[in-house]
Point group: C2
Chain length 335, copies 2
């Protein structure tokens, strides 16, 4: 690998001059500039970005830590993030939190250690105080995505999970359903807690039975939904509608129902949350709540961008809300 020294020797100038030519900082005469670029080509020179970063204390890259590499919307988030990053000429470094608070923290440190200009943090497991203290311990600016965090956690682009769950359930109630089941993971993380609480509250508010209406599935996957629904069919509690904590779960649920000879929506209505691409293509198409992950990511990247350039942030933290997408998986109950 050729270094700046090689090319400085070849051209017969100091490496300071070479550096200036490369970066376009300071004045360099046309002729020497030309000679330098030719030498760079000849030697196939590429600046060592590690050395650059060490010297300047920044790396021209944006770090992302994702709580997990297979959540149902991490693909959309990544896609959007990488598109915006490309426009700004910054590289994106993506890192896995392995769905565990400890790993999430490590990933953040990894990124901070590499002097990323800014870190986009999509965490599910870290507690609010974790986030706040971590934020304090590193100098890299952080922008949180996905959760609704207090101002002390720094910039955050959140989603109103409570509201999303409410409109889904309200839809079912408005259709006339009285026996509604919730299928979703145990309410142990902020997100799962919010969704489940919204469920219970809405039911109670409408004087419907809210107790023992929660069938737990291990995760947010189709498999989880499928198994949980089979479980539900065994216990023989009466129900006419199911609220699934995610579209994936809902799709698993619908499959289990169909395998058991139960028709959706004629016999049982199902609604989900997420509005994944595939949800429009299953049969029946799924009624769900749009989670605007692309718009959220875009917003987060704009903040990140401004932060990276040391600019004033024009549009700071924001809370996004969902929207009900009515399709064909939920109808009035069969009476």
């Amino acid at each position: 690998m050729a270094t700046i020294n090689d090319i400085s020797k070849m051209v017969g100038v100091s490496k300071a001059t070479v550096s200036r030519a490369i970066n376009g900082t300071g004045q360099v005469s046309k002729e020497t500039k030309k000679a330098i670029f030719e030498a760079m080509d000849a030697l196939n020179f590429r600046p060592n970005s590690l050395a650059q970063a060490l010297a300047t204390n920044k790396s021209n890259s944006i770090g992302i830590v994702l709580s997990d590499f297979d959540g149902n919307y991490f693909g959309r988030l990544l896609k959007q993030a990488s598109q915006t990053a490309e426009k700004t000429g910054k590289q994106l470094i993506v890192t896995d939190g392995h769905n565990c608070a400890k790993r999430e923290k490590e990933a953040i440190h990894f990124l901070a250690d590499r002097k990323c200009d800014v870190i986009i943090l999509y965490t599910r497991k870290m507690s609010v105080s974790d986030i706040i203290s971590l934020k304090r311990s590193i100098s890299t600016p952080i922008v949180n995505v996905g959760r609704d965090l207090p101002a002390s956690a720094g910039y955050t682009v959140g989603f109103d999970h409570t509201h999303a769950a409410q409109i889904a359930i309200t839809h079912l109630i408005d259709l006339g359903h009285k026996d509604i089941i919730y299928i979703g993971p145990e309410p142990t993380t902020p997100t799962t807690r919010l969704r489940f609480q919204a469920f219970e509250e809405k039911l109670e508010q409408h004087q419907l039975v809210a107790q023992d209406r929660h069938i737990i599935c291990p995760d947010f996957t189709v498999y989880g939904g499928y198994d949980a629904c089979q479980q539900l069919l065994k216990v023989k509690v009466p129900f006419s509608a199911i609220f699934a904590a995610s579209d994936d779960i809902a799709i698993g649920v619908m499959k289990a129902l169909s395998d058991a000879g139960i028709k959706v929506p004629e016999d049982v209505s199902v609604v989900g949350i997420d509005n994944q691409e595939k949800s429009a293509f299953v049969t029946p198409s799924l009624t769900t709540v749009e989670l605007p992950i692309k718009a959220m990511t875009l917003h987060a990247m704009q903040i990140a961008q401004e932060l990276a350039e040391g600019k004033q942030v024009t549009n700071g933290s924001k809370l996004f809300t969902g929207e009900l997408i009515v399709r064909h998986s939920a109808t009035p109950p069969n009476t």
Copy 2:
């Protein structure tokens, strides 16, 4: 940020000793080691990994470049890669090739410039000669994933796309179908070309009409499949089966069919390629070909691992083959 100097001053030893204590290289007495660790804690010291990498010329990380951040199996690939990486204590740096040869190259350079120990390359757009010359121009070892490349391209964990397409089509032919349509992207990339060629050859081999049987869809998505199938329904060519170039396309196709009142598999059979998670959960469940992306990634990571440690590679390049997964979307034609 505390540096190694701060802690060397605090303890009263040279920074060489501190470095040895941190890395566990060389001898350091118990007492000084203890003092050093205490000081590290007190000052909340984290070694600057940029400086470490610059000094040692390695970074203890594995780089991945993905041709695109929304291909249909990049999620599974990433998940598996990050799981293996975690076990080995290496960090994973993921980078987007933006579905374009130029960007793919840039991404590789980015990773090489950061001194990744090894690069996993999943490219769709770069030509074989591109890959070979790029491989020559950087010193970082590369392991290719997904395509079947010549030995001169270095280690490669490939998939036999021709064989996969063949078994899918043969399945349809064996069921008795004579009028088969191919729905997939234009054969412009290595993968799309292979799949389409296999289709044409098999048809000709069985003396079936192979001309004008290709309905083009813009990409590998459900939307693409949906639109292309609507196209197909307009042109009124007779057909009893559809071979879709991916599961996503197949799912879009089935939806278009069902929207048009055509029953799968009673009226039309459909098969895909990929065996995505959701394919078992659509109705009817999709007959497809398993693409063992997890196993392939695991294999690639093992090579990467050995390369990174400078070990001899025990199991080198390998070509994986698909397996037919028979479910409910394809049956004998209705005669």
